[in-house]
Symmetry: C2
């Protein structure tokens, strides 16, 4: 692990991950280090000489121990930005590809509006200003979210979400993601960066502990029973949902970072592909993999708020641009569960 104050190795390709200590960020980092090379924005693959992980949280030890890894501890607003109040610490020197994953999550943004504006909107603007100050037009792969979509009285959600569907966010998190998409698109149009906004799906099975998100049960009702613990399913079995495995989310981010401008095809945001299933399908898959004793650990306790929320969320996608990049949805719920079982080493 190199200290942040060391001079950057500007002669070689560098990659940065904001939110590099998080679930997706650390997983992306491990995959990049294992592969060792990357094709930045469609260019011929090169060795990753330096991988900078920026996060407020502590970076996992295995990543910090890799000699190619630099760790920058701090919030984005305090380490990026050339505008008034911002400090540019030179973290991006030599960076050609920035995966921008750091964000306050939806529940946090609903509870603390100012936190969301600061951690999502202002921090992203600071990051983009630092990218612009480089003068090299780096590729910025931004983790947006399908939370940009939502149904409302004046614009009911269409049955199938396409790349051209109007974002109509019903949360501060979703609104902030749309704002960042627009900032990124205009910074791209101006030639300051080469921006790619990829809207990530609800990820299942997310490892670790419940994170309090409304969609958290879509991981919990698989993860907890497999760990021998009870889990609450707060919606009816027939509720349709759109999902992607962690592996597919990482593939989508890599697709955003490694595609040529031509293949990426434009400045507007891309919806990643989703597997559309019902909650009953999810549980049936769990039963096929782990038997009825496992699914018996699910407590069906429909909750009005969660049911209403899930009904307002998109459940079907036609992701034309993502398909053009070669991205595919998970084939079925069984493969998603099998991946989780393999990673956690679960045995019946």
């Amino acid at each position: 692990m190199a200290a942040v104050s060391e001079p950057a190795v500007t002669a070689q390709a560098g990659v940065v991950i904001t939110g590099g200590a998080g679930f997706l960020g650390s997983r992306l980092a491990r995959q990049l280090l294992a592969t060792g090379t990357i094709s930045i924005g469609g260019e011929p693959a090169r060795a990753i000489s330096r991988l900078t992980l920026v996060d407020q949280a502590q970076v996992p030890g295995d990543l910090a121990a890799d000699e190619r890894v630099s760790v920058v501890s701090g919030g984005l607003g305090s380490v990026f930005g050339s505008g008034p109040g911002g400090r540019d610490l030179g973290i991006l020197d030599g960076a050609e590809l920035i995966f921008h994953l750091a964000a306050a999550v939806s529940a946090e943004c609903e509870a603390d509006f100012d936190l969301g504006m600061r951690a999502n909107v202002h921090a992203t603007e600071s990051l983009l200003e630092s990218c612009r100050a480089l003068g090299t037009g780096p590729v910025v792969a931004f983790a947006s979210s399908i939370a940009v979509f939502g149904g409302s009285a004046e614009h009911p959600l269409p049955a199938v979400i396409e790349d051209s569907t109007l974002p109509n966010p019903q949360s501060s998190y979703g609104a902030q993601k749309v704002i960042c998409e627009q900032l990124l698109a205009d910074y791209t149009r101006k030639g300051f960066v080469r921006g790619r906004a990829m809207r990530l799906m609800t990820v299942s099975v997310r490892p670790g502990r419940p994170n309090g998100a409304a969609t958290g049960f879509l991981s919990g009702i698989i993860r907890e029973p497999l760990a021998g613990q009870r889990a609450i399913c707060p919606v009816e079995p027939d509720v349709p949902v759109a999902l992607a495995s962690p592996a597919k989310a990482i593939a989508a981010l890599l697709g955003a970072g490694t595609s040529s401008d031509e293949a990426w095809g434009g400045r507007s945001a891309v919806n990643m592909p989703a597997l559309s299933v019902t909650v009953a399908d999810l549980v049936a898959g769990l039963e096929r993999a782990a038997g009825p004793a496992t699914t018996a650990l699910i407590d069906w306790v429909p909750d009005a708020l969660t049911s209403r929320l899930m009904a307002s969320w998109p459940a079907r996608f036609e992701s034309e641009r993502a398909a053009g990049l070669g991205l595919t949805p998970d084939p079925d719920i069984d493969s998603i569960i099998a991946m989780h079982i393999e990673e956690t080493g679960w045995r019946q």
Copy 2:
């Protein structure tokens, strides 16, 4: 004219116009003062006790002389905002309706990216923070623009623009308007304001001097010949355009400010109605009103850049929500020209 430092008359309804010295702002102010009453957000009409005009430019003398008018001179970023770096001068004390018209225009934003971000995005956020600090949830009628729409390779512009059409801005001005719409919508969802984003059309006939905007000729080819001056038309006669008279633009802003929440119908932006004509229709109308000697003053000098720009602009709208508010497009080009002739006192 009351000085800004006088205590606000909080017992009575107050209205604020940012950009109150501009073409639309001063026109809106005159109309409000002439009517003398307003129904704020659908409430019963009340007398306008105080009309605050905020602008960097000088407010016209007739407005400044009205005893109901307070003038605040300065940029929005310097007079609003409770966040870091912002100062809240109490300008909004007692304000129940804010028309937010102040903006850097499209050509300025293209020439100076930082100016556009500051004058449009950051200033709007400062204004919204000041509104939020009031704690009263004032109505904010925001002048957005059809510049949010644009065609691109991945999302060609549909033949007819609806309220649900994806904004896909092709200019910094357009991107900044989308960002402000999203900010306003989320401040509204949180209950900080009652926001109404109205997307204004290209206005014709705009009085005064050419303003350098790409669409400026849509006023110039009527205004200049009527004033006995030559005017260049930089596109072919068959180019389709969407227009609205100044009177219809003011009606749209008033519709946004005076509708009840129910009539307004949602948090997403509303496209104002447009008259769809060709440039040839415009010139034919001018000839009907003022004769062939007047239209002979138009020099047809098609320009590749303007032609390309105009081809990428929306020319047809189906404005369902605006129609629901009782807003209508101008009936024909003759009425638009007749209004301009009446206002300028032109005589053949």
